[in-house]
Each structure stands twice: as C-alpha cells, then as structure tokens.
Subunit: 283 residues, 2 copies
Amino acid sequence: MEIVRRILRMKEIVRGWHRQGRTIGFVPTMGYLHEGHLSLIRESKRMTDHTVVSIFVNPLQFGPREDYDRYPRDLDRDVEILSRESVDVLFYPSVEDMYPPGYRTYIDVEGLSQKWEGASRPGHFRGVATVVCKLFHIVQPDFAFFGQKDAQQFVILRRMVQDLNMDVELIQLPIVRESDGLAMSSRNVYLSPEERTVAPRLYQALQVGRRLVQEEGERDAEKIVEAVRSFLAQEPRIRIDYVALVDLEDLEPIETVRGPALLAAAIYLGPTRLIDNVTLNTK
Amino acid sequence: MEIVRRILRMKEIVRGWHRQGRTIGFVPTMGYLHEGHLSLIRESKRMTDHTVVSIFVNPLQFGPREDYDRYPRDLDRDVEILSRESVDVLFYPSVEDMYPPGYRTYIDVEGLSQKWEGASRPGHFRGVATVVCKLFHIVQPDFAFFGQKDAQQFVILRRMVQDLNMDVELIQLPIVRESDGLAMSSRNVYLSPEERTVAPRLYQALQVGRRLVQEEGERDAEKIVEAVRSFLAQEPRIRIDYVALVDLEDLEPIETVRGPALLAAAIYLGPTRLIDNVTLNTK
C-alpha cells in the first residue's frame, strides 16, 4: 500500500491507472476506521481494479463549536488496518494542501442541505459537498462507496454528482452495527461507559417505528414518529434532536407511508450527538 | 462537424478521444459568434487534437431583469461559421438537459464574485461558475479558452479550477476589437447607430488611463481612475457603472501602480451595458 500525501502524486497514480484502462474504487473517510468502513473497502475491492481510501478530517464540515479538534485520530492503527485489507493507496492530504491560502470555492446543494442534519449543523453539507467534489477530481473514481448511516449525505452527494454531470457512480452500503445494535461510528468513542449502555436505545427506538409499519401496518407518519419519540423519552439521559420520517429522494417529511421511506433520528447523549436510520418497506 | 445536443452523446465522444490519447480544446460560448470567439477557436485548433465549441445561453447567469430572453441568437449562422472553422463538435445542449427539474447544485467563488461585475449583476458569477464546472465535466477538456474582455470571469474560473483540483488549463486571449477600438461583443448588436458611434469612447477612456501610466509615469491609482472617469463624463449619453484599477489576482483596488494591473470599466449607453479593460504594464 502506498501512502500518498500530495495531491499531485495522487493524480499521477490515477493517470497511470486510467491509461491502463483500470477501474478505480474510492472510499472517502475521516479515519479512525471501524467495521463500517471495512465493509465499504471490501465492496470496492470486489467491484474495481484499484481501491483508494482517503483519510481527511475536513475542517470545512465542522461548525465552530463542533468537535473538529477532538475528532478521534489514530493514523498508525488506520495504516495497519488498510495494509491488512490490501488497499492500493491511502490518500492522506494535509489541510494546507486541500485548502491553501486564498481558497474560496464552495458547493451548495440547496434545500437538501438545510434540513435535518443541516439544520442542526449549519454549513456541514456545504463542507461535505465541497470536499467530496475536490476528492472526486483528485481520485477520479469510477465508483465511490458510502455508508447508509449518513443517509442524508448520500442523497446530497448523489444530487451533486448528477447536477454537475460528474462521472462517478455512488454506492451506498448498509449500516454496520455493534452486537447490541448501536450503529458503528468513530464518534462512539466519545461515550462514557454509562452512556454506551444507553446508546443502543436509538436503534431500538427506530425498530419500534419499523415494527409499527411493517408488522402492525401503521401508515400514519405522525403516529410512527410519536412512537419513536416516546420510546426515546423513556430514557432521561437522551435528548432528542429530531425524529423524521421522510421521502428517500427529497428528504421531505411524508404524511402517509406508501412506499419505501427513511426513518431517521438524531439524539444527544451527554455532549455526544448520535445519528441512526432505518429504511421502511411496506408490503 | 458534429452537432451534439445530448450530454450523454457528448460524453461518449469525449471518452473515445481520451481512449485514443487525444487532447481536447474547449471554447464555451453563448453563441452569436464574432471574431473574438474565432480567435479562441483558432488557438484551440492550433494547440489541441480536437476542438469542442459549446453554445449555451445560460439562464443561471442572467439576473431577473437582465437580457436573457432577448440575448441575440442565430444558430444557423453560428453553425456555418463553426463548420468553416472545421471545429470537431458543436455542443448545443438544451436548458432542460442542463438544468432538469429538481436541479439544486451551485458553485460560489466567494469574494471574487461579489465585486465589480458581480456587484452590478448579483448571482452572475455563481451562474457562470456552475455552468462552466458542468461543461468541464461533460467535455473534459485539456485546455479551455476565454477572452480577456471578461477578465473578472477568467480570474474567478481560474480560482475555481485551482480550488476544486480540476484538470484543465485555462487560457486567456487578448480582446479582439473593431477597427475603431470597440471590444467585440455579441451585445454590441443592441446599440442604436447613434450609440454605436459613441461606444468606442469606452476604449478611448481606458487608453487615456494607460497612456497616463505607461507614457507619463503616473502611479497614483486615484488619479488614473479619475482621468478615465473625466474622459467618459464628457459624453452625456454615457452613464458610468464603475471604473476600477485592480490587482490582477485578487481584483482588489490598488492605490499605487507597481506592476501589472487591470484597468476595467463598465458603462451604460442607453439600456445597453458595455464592459472593457486593458492591462497596465509599468516599465
């Protein structure tokens, strides 16, 4: 595995692969890798000739009072994991190389970026869209892989790629969970042992909603959301940010479940914000 | 010459050229071609294996009270000109194909887009940056050619390409002028015969500024700008929008001319807005 720090070197490698007609798979990450990332990497390796994983904690997608500085980082461990997975390249650019002095270009996916996660994290998706557009230009992948935990991010990036006529196919893979149901996340490390025991209730609450729809035939979105909220409210250490039952394409709230839909939630547990979601299928 | 309407067909042609290792030159235009465009096309043909010219009157870069609807169009004449120049492809997409329902992705080059032309035309450069990014993704050129008349546009696009790590080299060519000095522009057709006789005063005024710097050694920007304004003010039919003496990189006003700088102006002549600029060189 080659570790590449410079953008120009990354482009050089990509040019070589393209000249040989090889396909490129890309897994953009912020590092501190877990099984969720590994599922993306393994699918990329299965589908493409060469796999690039990037590790870049992108300052642009963190708000001023968010956790950019303390976001968990462990490059040595990540390098070990990626070598073991036989990834071709770890792309690990510096902030200075990605955002040099005078940097001033930003991408907005309007409407989609302002709701749910975007409402709680202003500017977050502008940062995500901008950095992913840059990374796509640098790595020029045929396929890029994302986890469903960031379901809104996927909808936004898919829209960006389509709107800007970019030549990359985005692939979303299921959430990987701990044995007790907690969605894997680099941020889970923030949880105290006590919070960690409470955290699985987020997924349990979403399961309450899913059972209501898929087993009891409930179709009224308000009732489904209320059931999820009530379940979460039983635990006093949980503060609900949002519970949303939305259309899979435009992320607008739906009133009645008629086809596939996304049930998503964000909570605070102490200072830590956790997100999770499930897809609802009718019939 | 192939006339391509569909984005997918354009991408297919480009893929074929790339597979053969050919270079691509690109001249994005809004049509109603004049000698200025031809100078770009000829340079593209000289430098690259294949030349693509796009004609797309981009609604996104026109303000609600601007001239999108009456912007001059003459496809038959343009096709004749481009055939004569032996361009490989005329790319002529529809608005519906470029901005399908649900379109919502926009590119901002902050700071640079808000001043001068951007101050008079809010949203203009957002529209320009967005459409050019899209066109670059579709045509994937090695080189793209622009005229110096839109000097601010060039600075903004160069910044976008650099910031977003795009693989295209932007080339700016000198303004092509009528024999009386008027910068060629598709919008010159708006001028009444009487306005047309007055229009060359814009370039003459810029020449007054240039002579002051290059022949008389004036270095005080305020005095140079004032000389240009005074010259323009002699003609009552001219209404000055701005006269600016700015840095070539960041477009900020300079106080003292020390090296190369841009002297740019915009005026109204009746309802028509004209722009022009000259580069100032010291020594």
